[in-house]
Amino acid sequence: MKRIFLTLTTTMMFLTSATPTFAGEKVEVKVKGMVCSFCAQGIKKKFSTQDAVSKVEVNLDDKWVKLELGDNKVLSDEQIRTSIKDAGYEVVSIERRSGPSAAQGN
């Protein structure tokens, strides 16, 4: 019984390895030309097809697009600029904020 418990505990420690895991990164993109929500639907469409993106938010007043990436997902600045350009707009700036990290084990 004691041996089983020890084995289980060791297995759990191995599975939840020392490599830190990160919740989704948040990216704020400042965009030029975004004055019409009907036209800017293309931005949501383009990012919704990206596997790395779990959530898209658009603000016409402040001219930004906020992206929330999936856990451990990556979306490069180049990919972001391309998607915005394909939607018909231009990127002014990109700011990134990592989600809270959750390192498990040491």
């Binding site: 030029k32 030309g33 975004m34 004055v35 019409c36 929500s37 009907f38 036209c39 800017a40 639907q41 293309g42 931005i43 469409k45 383009k46 658009v58 603000n59 016409l60 007043d61 001219k63 350009k85 394909d86 939607a87 018909g88 707009y89 231009e90 002014v92």
Partner: protein, 223 residues
């Protein structure tokens, strides 16, 4: 009926039909969507309908198909059916923090079918627009010709204001005044029409009425 009278009336019918085809309810000038996007739009009036489908392989280019039916009721003018292949090109776009401006070129060719004959017709035009969140302006010039009928031109200007601003997800409203001048038109060469435009998400619709009380209902969906 004399040949001149037939040509004039049929030319007007062709012009009116093509004008109904080429009027697009988009907040932007032409039917160009985001890359990979599709647009479906309709224009409906008491005596005519128009359907358009277009695909944008690039954010500066689209191809589409137009179909129109014009009743043109009367003893001398029979209903018309119009099928057209059309291309739209974004010549230039200005993206600013508070505005966007565009210049488009478009052209197409197709068949016009009347009760008497089927003829080849072609058209070309240029359109420009500039808008902010509060103001919308557009101008358009268009030329239409065919194998059989006299050529015709049309010039259009639109000015709109947003009575309120709202968030991306909510219903948006515009109040627009449209002025259209058609020097070769058989009747009503100058038209002035107020139009109410609404859109939410990817659906847009317009309600308008001309000075003569002719209603119009236009829709557009992009996906």
């Amino acid at each position: 009926m004399s040949r001149l009278r037939f040509t004039t009336r049929a030319g007007f019918a062709l012009f009116a039909l093509a004008t109904s085809i080429l009027h697009t309810p988009a907040s932007r000038a032409g039917p160009i969507s985001y890359e990979g996007g599709w647009i479906f739009s309709t224009r409906n009036q008491p005596d005519s309908i128009n359907w358009q489908v277009s695909y944008s392989p690039k954010p500066w280019l689209s191809f589409g198909v137009d179909y129109a039916y014009d009743k043109m009721a009367g003893p001398d003018v029979a209903p018309k059916n119009y099928g057209l292949l059309r291309g739209n090109l974004l010549l230039k776009r200005w993206n600013e923090m508070e505005s966007q401006g565009n210049i488009y070129l478009y052209g197409g060719a197709g068949g016009l079918k009347t009760s008497d004959a089927t003829t080849l017709a072609w058209l070309g035009g240029i359109e420009a627009d500039w808008e902010t969140r509060e103001i919308y302006t557009s101008v358009k010039a268009q030329y239409l010709d065919s194998e059989t009928f006299d050529p015709s031109t049309m010039y259009q200007a639109r000015f709109g204001v947003a009575p309120y601003l709202t968030t991306f997800e909510n219903l948006h409203t515009w109040v627009i005044l449209e002025v259209q001048y058609s020097p070769e038109a058989f009747d009503e060469q100058l038209k002035v029409s107020p139009v109410m435009r609404f859109y939410i998400d990817n659906v847009l619709w317009e309600l308008g009425v001309s000075a003569r009380g002719t209603w119009s209902f236009n829709t557009m969906v992009h996906f």
